[in-house]
Amino acid sequence: MRLQKKSAFLIQKESPVVLLLLVAGSLFPFVSDNFFYIEILKTAAIYAIFAMSWDILTGYTHEVNFGFAFFIGGTGYLSGILNSFFSVSPYLAIPIAVLAAGIFGIFIGYLTLRLKGPYFAMVTMVFASILFTLSFIFTEITGGEEGISGLDTFTDDPVKDFFLIWAVMAASYFVLRLYARSKHGIILKAIRADEDATKSAGINTAYYKIEAFALSGTLGGLGGGIFAHSQMHIGPTMLSGEISIIVVLLAMIGGMGTIVGPLLGAVGLSILNEYLRFVEEYRLVIYTGFLTLLIYLAPDGLINLKFIKDSKRLSFIFLGERKSK
């Protein structure tokens, strides 16, 4: 019995629901030219990138990152500044900012991942708060409360932008799934189960945790950069505690440690959020209240609910990967 082929994943091992979603989304602009809906899908896709990349660290190691805004807003602002002050095209600004995110990820991961659980969680929040506070101090660069406006989009056509963003989301999904199935993912799961046992298996656990943290931050930063340019604006909300918490909730409600859960959760809940605009005044209250309720009712996430886990068929539909025997 071989565990898996050495080459890249096979399509039939992937979650059917996700594949369906990815295809359906990419076909959407052909069946509808409602720009409003396309914008909603764009936002949903970006939040999916946030949730999935958050998951590869926290879902797989149980080190809880409460300061994801650091990467989201940090990269967004860096790319925005490059674009706005130095006229660097988003196609270059974003990669540069993402690279910076990666480097910071390695640096911060190295400093913080040795802290015990709750302290790690708090210190991630603190790093994000530091950036948030800094954005109000250096207002000439960051625009303070108002942020930076007038950023360039990717193409001149919102639909083309949509395809780009949807493609990036799909690519992120496959990259993260591949990573999770690889030696790296298996080691992270082992660390999650018992770090000492993993160390006694000859594994440098610190390295793999830092790597996951950096990957998480890099992809999250990619999402942040894309978000900034798709909205043509970056503001302090992308560095706030609010967005950090929302990403956590989206991923957890979806179901940590699966990549699929956060994707579906983020897409579903983001669409709900937009749908609630018909009661705009109450939207945020309903949305945050609903998220709180969901995490209370399903602390392990919707995809990890017992009735799905216990059913072989449902398990396969959502998560794919039917292991032999």
């Binding site: 565990l3 298996i186 799961k189 046992a197 000859g202 594994i203």
Partner: protein, 249 residues
Amino acid sequence: MNLLDIENLTKKFGGLEALLRFSLSVREGEIVGIIGPNGAGKTTLFNCITGFLPFDSGYAFFDGNDIQDKKPYQIVNLGLARTWQLVKAFFGMRVMEAMMVPSFSKRALSIHSSEKARQEKIEKLLREMGLEKNIWSEVDNLNQGELRLLDISRALVTCPKVLLLDEPFSGLSHKEIENISRVIQNLNNEGLTIVIIEHRLKELMKLVQKVVVINFGKKIAEGIPEEIVQEPPVIEAYLGKRRTKVGLA
């Protein structure tokens, strides 16, 4: 040659001396037992020489390498592997996955350079341990005996030169102990150097060539099993000051 050289190792927890100038040498191919009452310092010793606890003074050399300030994973990659007294397993994963983890260690990767070779080694080990039917089971579903065997298998995947076993018999039935003893004996016959901490004296004495006795962090006796059980300090340590002959039966 001495694979393991521990000299005057001292470890204190505040005022408590967990280990006091403890020394031990283990030759290649030996199978050594470490015994002593609860709290004597046996597991602390293992923790110190595997990098999980820093020690205050003394020396520890493994295969010629100074292992004092090394991290646990580095020591494993030098060839010193250990098992755990309280079950530590990769719960939430399948047995096969759990066994792949040690196969990703630097040492295992360099010895078995192809994925195929690693895969075969894992399957071979699981077969030798009698766990081949469990390859795809969830680790959570294994019983205590199987978990111990899995722990030993996990250690063996890293191709160690010396294996430290921490109370491998604890919580097992007689039959399971017999099974594991046989496995340990075979491993030693094939050339693996083994150090075992145990409380089940009868079963241990059948297995080892040399016994070291610890009490209150100090080595109080060292020798062959038949002699050790008759040494007064040893009897005293286990039974208190009484004049009783503790036989091998």
